[in-house]
């Protein structure tokens, strides 16, 4: 701090004219810079989900053991090019997710052997024991992994869970479901047109 340091009070109080200009400039630039950073972060947060028609950037997902894809514990999104990809964001603490868990699993089982459709479960902000409990409880068999560092959910700019993204064979986002599915038919109704493309 710029407290006076010299002895004997009368001499020690030279008349100063406020804060030096250069310090003022630095303070204001720092303050504004900070506000800009927060504002941009906020704008991104407010942007909302990825829009249909956009190409999904590539990402890697590490999978829970027992929920691997063809025996591998890590997958790249780009390796599913040519297939219809259903990306479901969920969390064990998320109650609406439970409403759709059985429907998703049942839909997955009807496509599993065709090799044309892949389901990916992405566990958002969760703890592993709870997440595994959830997967066991709903007998989920499609590949599932944690969203480490919330990187993937940030790609998709999800607003919450559950959210489900349907990506066509060209890797473009086709449809976004915000909130739970109410029936299995709803899921098929989205996938079937994409398969016929």
């Amino acid at each position: 701090m710029s407290e006076s340091n010299s002895p004997s009070a009368p001499l020690a109080a030279p008349v100063r004219r406020g804060v030096p200009l250069w310090i003022q400039v630095i303070v204001w630039i720092g303050l504004l810079g900070l506000l800009v950073v927060v504002a941009l972060g906020l704008r991104r947060a407010q942007q909302g989900t990825v829009q249909p028609g956009e190409t999904i950037p590539d990402f890697t997902l590490s999978l829970f053991s027992g929920y691997e894809y063809e025996g591998r514990s890590e997958i790249r999104f780009s390796e599913f090019r040519g297939k219809v990809v259903v990306v479901n964001f969920w969390a064990s603490w998320c109650k609406p997710c439970e409403q759709e868990a059985a429907e998703l699993e049942s839909a997955w089982r009807s496509y599993r052997d065709s090799g044309q459709v892949i389901f990916l479960g992405i566990d958002y902000v969760d703890t592993e024991p709870e997440a595994r409990g959830y997967l066991t409880k709903f007998d989920i068999t499609y590949p599932n992994g944690p969203d480490l560092g919330t990187r993937i959910s940030q790609f998709f700019r999800i607003k919450g869970v559950p959210e489900t993204y349907f990506i066509d064979r060209q890797g473009k986002l086709a449809y976004v479901q915000v909130g739970p599915f109410t029936s299995e038919a709803q899921i098929h109704a989205i996938i079937i047109p994409l398969l016929n493309d």
Binding site: S4, A45, P129, T150
Partner: protein, 701 residues
């Protein structure tokens, strides 16, 4: 309809707070005290009004009126009544209302006092408090109305504040219910404690701004709000500790603090608040650090609002985050405007806030307090960088890179250790004064050397126990260098602090012919802030010991056990005895294991009952079985990832040495704060210059 009534009250309260802002400003500018008085009364009116609004919402919650969206979101029929009441702060809109309610309670309390000597502060304190209340109420009125109801229209069901055309009310059968993780006593009081801490800091901030606007450069604003700062600090500390305890009991990861952005958001105002608590003493005693105190209180207020913003705007992902909503931009503008206005005011008044005193030496009390402040600011910078860096990396590289606990531990750990050491050395500077004079009489040594000599002379006795502790630790085979440094510092600081109590009480006992304990009692009564502060320091040291224990020496293991099998950890043997599954009377489905714990000699110690609860809505919760002693906690979890059967069950066991000292320290800490904050008759303050010349020291000063 009751919900409409509630919203009406909110609207009226919002208008009252707006009126209060305008009236206080006009009253001051036009020199009409009646308008200022009217502004004060109108601000005080917000408290009964908000009480009514909150009671209305609580009534709706308890009566289970699921037509109201907020009630549907945070309660369900099977919840006990006390949880329905506390669900008030279980969701975004209700907690905002709760925030405003507490804020207006504090603002009302502070304006009830007599203002004769400080009348010029009144309009500005009223204005700052009213602006804050108006902002939070505005969020409720325009963005997050807790009284929104469900309406059925041709388009379907949605929530609206006002009835849309041709709509009929819609009430779901049952609500979604509170997240079971939040159904814990610790969680019931953790948020209100934090909110109380947050809102109480608005009071010293309001007075600081009043002092800046009026140009009153003395320490009156600090003296007026001293107890508010302490209260705010106590609640904030309690909120943080309760949050940690809740995590330890419920989250089932064996820890208490995860450096989550939202934890840090609550921790940052605590850091500046703690620095403020220390540095105001220098302004009171020496008339120094005036500008610094202004900066600290402005920072604290801004961080309080910033922390609330981080949690509620969806800028950062976190387990604590509320559902995203539209209030982010409003918050951002509010932070920007208040921060820019405060800094501009501070720059405008910079000159009048010059120091009255001067720093004598590196070892003087002022210098040590300043060092303490710098350490707190260092930790703040580390925390702030950790929180803000994902936003910056996102700008630069396009993806958020979140820093984890290792970053914070490595960067802030040494600073915490230095703080502990400083906590021990700083009291020496107070005695240093007396010793200094004796030394000064002896020879013409330089001031620096005299200070250093004085401190060394006082240090050697309390240093003996610390050296003994170090030897003991080495003898026990502890080789972790960080733990050795940390525990030695803690021992040194504790022994200096205790020595200080003993020394002062003995001196007083002799001088006043009092019994030692009576002298101790009177001593604490005579200078509550100092001795309360020392007790707080002892509490912090106990907490530090607990933190060192769990951070450096925690060990864990996990395995599936068949009945009769056992698992070993840190000399303990945990044997799986049996398993039972049964419904609890509140609808939970409980899976409870019985395990026996033996020590390393095979001696039976206790039985533990780790549990796995599944709520009726399907959400699970892992409750550990804990054997807790002063030496360590044995923390046994029944985990459900491979499926529990009565024959085989997977267990995870943590050994957490010394962790109980953390909670014990928290109690000492609270006790110390209560002593420091206990009201004493307000003495007429002397001007700083006059006090500086006072040379009469009583024992214990």
């Amino acid at each position: 309809m009751l919900a409409d009534f509630g919203f009406g009250i909110l609207l009226v309260t919002f208008l009252a707070s707006l009126y209060s802002i305008v009236a206080s400003l006009y009253g001051h500018l036009a020199h009409r005290p009646k308008w200022v008085e009217s502004a004060r009364l109108s601000m005080q009116l917000t408290f009964p009004l908000l009480t009514l609004a909150s009671l209305t919402l609580i009534y709706l919650l308890v009566s289970g009126d699921f037509n109201v969206k907020f009630v549907y979101e945070v309660t369900s029929r099977d919840m006990p009544t006390y949880l329905k009441v506390t669900a008030l702060w279980g969701g975004q809109s209700g907690s905002l209302l709760f925030w405003s309610w507490l804020m207006s309670a504090f603002a009302t309390a502070v304006t009830l006092r007599k203002w004769e000597r400080d009348r010029e502060f009144l309009p500005w304190v009223t204005m700052v408090a009213s602006i804050t209340i108006a902002f939070f109420l505005g969020l409720n009125v325009f963005f997050e109305n807790p009284f929104q109801r469900f309406w059925q229209t041709f388009q379907g069901v949605d929530a609206y504040t006002f009835r849309p055309a041709n709509a009929i009310p819609f009430a779901p059968e049952d609500g979604r219910g509170l997240n079971p993780l939040l159904r814990h006593p610790g969680m019931v009081i953790h948020p209100p404690m934090l909110y109380l801490g947050f809102v109480a800091y608005v009071i010293p901030f309001a007075f600081a701004i009043a002092a800046l606007i009026t140009g009153r450069a003395d320490d009156r604003w600090i003296r007026l709000t001293r107890r508010w700062s302490l209260t705010a600090w106590l609640f904030l500390s309690l909120g943080l500790v309760l949050g940690g305890r809740w995590a330890y009991d419920v989250l089932g990861w064996g820890g208490y603090w995860a450096w989550d952005p939202v934890e840090i958001a609550a921790f940052m105002p605590w850091l500046t608040g703690t620095a403020f608590l220390h540095s105001v003493m220098i302004q009171e005693k020496r008339g120094m650090l005036k500008r610094w105190n202004m900066i600290l209180i402005i920072l604290t207020y801004s961080l309080v609002v910033f922390g609330t913003f981080l949690t509620r705007s969806g800028v950062l992902s976190s387990v604590h985050a509320f559902a995203q909503s539209e209030i982010g931009p409003a918050f951002f503008i509010f932070i920007g405007v208040t921060l820019v206005a405060s800094v501009a005011l501070l720059i405008y008044r910079w000159d009048s806030l010059h120091a009255e005193g001067q720093m004598h030496s590196m070892f003087s009390r002022e210098a040590l307090f300043l060092l303490n402040n710098l350490l707190f600011m260092g930790i703040l910078v580390i925390c702030f960088w950790g929180v803000i860096s994902p936003l910056i990396t996102e700008l630069v590289t396009g993806s958020k890179v979140t820093v984890g606990p290792p970053y914070y531990e490595r960067a802030a750990g040494p600073l915490f250790a230095l703080l502990v050491l400083l906590m021990g050395i700083a009291p020496l500077s107070a005695w240093g004064h007396i010793t200094l004079k004796n030394l000064a009489a002896q020879n013409g040594l330089e001031l620096e050397k005299r200070y250093a000599l004085a401190i060394a002379k006082l240090l050697w006795k309390p240093a003996i126990p610390a050296v003994l502790v170090l030897i003991g630790l080495l003898a026990a085979g502890i080789t972790n260098i960080y733990a050795l440094i940390g525990l030695t510092f803690a021992a040194l600081t504790a022994s200096i602090t205790l020595y200080e109590f003993w020394r002062a009480a003995r001196a007083r006992g002799r001088a006043q012919k009092e019994h030692f304990f009576l002298a101790l009692w009177n001593l604490a009564g005579r200078n509550r802030r100092r001795y309360g502060g020392y007790i707080i320091h002892l509490g912090v040291i106990l907490m530090a010991v607990g933190i060192i224990g769990i951070e450096m020496f925690q060990s864990e293991t996990q395995r599936s056990l068949a009945v009769g099998e056992s698992i070993q950890l840190a000399g303990y043997t945990v044997r799986y005895d049996s398993l039972a599954q049964f419904p609890a009377n509140d609808g939970r489905w409980v899976t409870r294991a019985v395990v026996s714990v033996f020590d390393k000699n095979g001696q039976f110690l206790t039985e533990l009952y780790p549990r796995y609860d599944v709520y009726s809505d399907g959400q699970p919760m892992t409750i550990p079985g804990v054997r807790s002693t002063l030496a360590d906690d044995l923390y046994v979890l029944l985990i459900n990832w491979e499926g529990v059967t009565s024959q085989i069950a997977p267990f995870k066991v943590y050994h957490n040495p010394l962790v109980n000292w953390l909670w014990l320290g928290a109690f000492v800490f609270i006790f110390g704060t209560l002593i420091a904050a206990w009201p004493e008759a307000e003495r007429e303050p002397l001007p700083a210059q006059a006090r500086k010349t006072k040379t009469v020291y009583q024992p214990g000063d």
